[in-house]
């Protein structure tokens, strides 16, 4: 067809968007009423399974923002097998993550050798006071049940474990 002047075509685009929005609804999500579920791998908040943690300090050391604070002490734990000698176990006193400093890079979750830290896509934990963003180990434990199952991988992925 004849070259429609750009000015008119521009009007056409905005008009058709308006018709689409009225008929098919807008692209925006009305947040407080409808909520968009983040994908399973979204890095919302870090959850801690306390009994896996042996306070080996690897996560605190490899955190670039220095926002993980751990204190632990040594304890004697009952022997695994009957009659064995009591084991020395590291008991965790304090495991805080300061989410005001954290930049959600995920190095701690990845570097933890005992799989004690997990990502959960939970994102609605904003606080009135910034100090409340320092989650202690009980709060981190609560996030555990919001941790989803690992999503199965794309077709061509290598199934037998990564490394």
């Amino acid at each position: 067809m004849a070259k429609v002047p750009g000015l008119v075509k521009g009007l056409g685009v905005t008009f058709s968007t308006m018709v689409q929005t009225i008929t098919k609804g807008a692209n925006t999500v009305q947040y407080p009423h409808e909520k968009e579920a983040p994908p399973t791998r979204a890095r919302g908040v870090i959850a801690l399974r306390e009994d896996n943690c042996t306070s080996c300090m690897l996560c605190a050391r490899s955190c670039p923002d220095w926002c993980i604070y751990i204190e632990g002490h040594k304890e004697l734990a009952p022997p695994r097998r009957a009659g064995g000698k009591p084991r020395q176990v590291n008991k965790l006193d304090r495991f805080d993550i300061d989410f005001a400093l954290c930049m959600y890079c995920g190095i701690c979750v990845e570097v933890c050798p005992f799989d004690a830290l997990f990502w959960s896509p939970e994102y609605e934990y904003s606080e009135g006071r910034i100090a409340d963003l320092l989650h202690d180990k009980t709060k981190l434990g609560e996030w555990m049940e919001t941790v989803p199952e690992a999503p199965e991988l794309e077709a061509g992925a290598d199934k037998k474990g990564k490394k």
Partner: protein, 352 residues
């Protein structure tokens, strides 16, 4: 409003009070609906979003919230600003809108004033807002608003000329400058004998209509011509330093002027408050019966919303002219074309 309407004698001061109240309603009501329907809703739909939905059902009370917000905001004047002129500027801009609406007829008897030289008065008064904008730009001691004010001065003057020339075409065809006469001429007339649709000047004066709408777009400093409020360069031009109630006056001024110009455009080109007289067998203004005084404003409101839709549609889709292109477009293109339109109308007038 003549006092015979309610068969009760209204003293003269009562009439002027009614006229003032009517004027305020006639300006603020269109401004409010335009802001809600177009700025909040239509703009959002064009951008695939829903616009304000929280305040009231479908965001209808959003304007109340906005006005409330602005009223309780502190009204700051910059320290080195020229205080008196700084405060006067928004009043001048808003005053020009109220003066403009005084001349618009809303029905056979429903008009504020019935000047013989109605349109001449309207064009003169509409240039008062240029003074207000220049005062705002100059008085707020801020480089951005100075630039905005000067650009506005250049632009508004450059676009008043084509607007006036476009109106002359209509005046020639209606043989009168009285707006009531123009409305009657359009609705009572006929196109080559067929008077099913009256003779809206939109058809015969289409070039004049286009030039008038482009000039109105420039008068309102809307999108293709919003150099004075170039938010990506001058933050918000001459309105940068205003806040609180004064900014509200500018904001209302902007949209009320859009409404009033649309009212005038609908009077000039779409037949104003009247529906084609042939439909009801009237053939002059005196035998138009009384219910038209009620239906007239509604018809005017409808036509005004249609024209403001055009203005806003263009505003939300186009980027901005640079001001030298804008001036060149006005002086080198619009004015010659509008002069040509006048010549054509005059020749056509003589021939028919």
């Amino acid at each position: 409003m003549t006092s015979a309407l309610w068969a009760v004698e209204i003293p003269y001061w009562g009439q002027t009070l009614l006229r003032v109240l009517g004027g305020v309603v006639a300006v603020l009501l269109p401004a409010g609906t335009i802001v809600y329907v177009f700025l909040f809703k239509m703009m959002s739909f064009m951008q695939s979003r829903l616009g304000p939905m929280e305040a009231g059902p479908y965001g209808s009370l959003q304007l109340v919230a906005e006005v409330g917000k602005w009223l309780q905001k502190e009204d700051i004047a910059p320290e080195r600003a020229d205080r008196f002129i700084f405060r006067l500027a928004p009043i001048v801009v808003l005053a020009s809108t109220f003066l403009l609406v005084a001349v618009v007829p809303f029905g056979p008897d429903a008009w504020f004033t019935n000047f013989e030289t109605g349109i001449y008065y309207a064009m003169a008064v509409s240039s008062v807002s240029v003074l207000g904008i220049l005062m705002a730009g100059w008085a707020s001691a801020n480089k951005y608003s100075l630039l905005g004010g000067l650009r506005a001065a250049g632009q508004l003057i450059a676009y008043e000329l084509p607007m006036v020339l476009a109106v002359i075409g209509v005046v020639i065809q209606a043989e009168s400058m009285n707006l009531q006469q123009i409305v009657v001429a359009q609705n009572a007339g006929s196109i080559f004998g067929w008077d099913g649709l009256g003779n809206p000047y939109l058809l015969t004066q289409f070039v004049g209509f286009l030039i008038f709408m482009i000039a109105v777009q420039a008068e309102l400093t809307q999108a293709p011509f919003d150099m004075p409020i170039a938010e990506s360069e001058l933050v918000s031009g001459y309105m940068t330093e205003y806040s609180g109630f004064r900014f509200l006056m500018f904001f209302i001024g902007e949209f009320a002027t859009a409404g009033v110009f649309a009212l005038i455009a609908s009077v000039l080109f779409l037949g104003g408050w009247g529906v084609p007289f042939a439909w009801f067998g009237w053939n002059g203004i005196d035998d138009v019966d009384n219910w038209m005084n009620v239906v007239g404003p509604l018809v005017m409101f409808g036509k005004m919303m249609l024209l403001v839709f055009l203005i806003m549609w263009v505003r939300f889709s186009y980027p901005r002219f640079r001001e030298d292109q804008l001036q060149r477009f006005a002086w080198k293109f619009l004015i010659p074309v509008s002069l040509g339109n006048i010549v054509l109308t005059a020749v056509a007038k003589v021939v028919w």
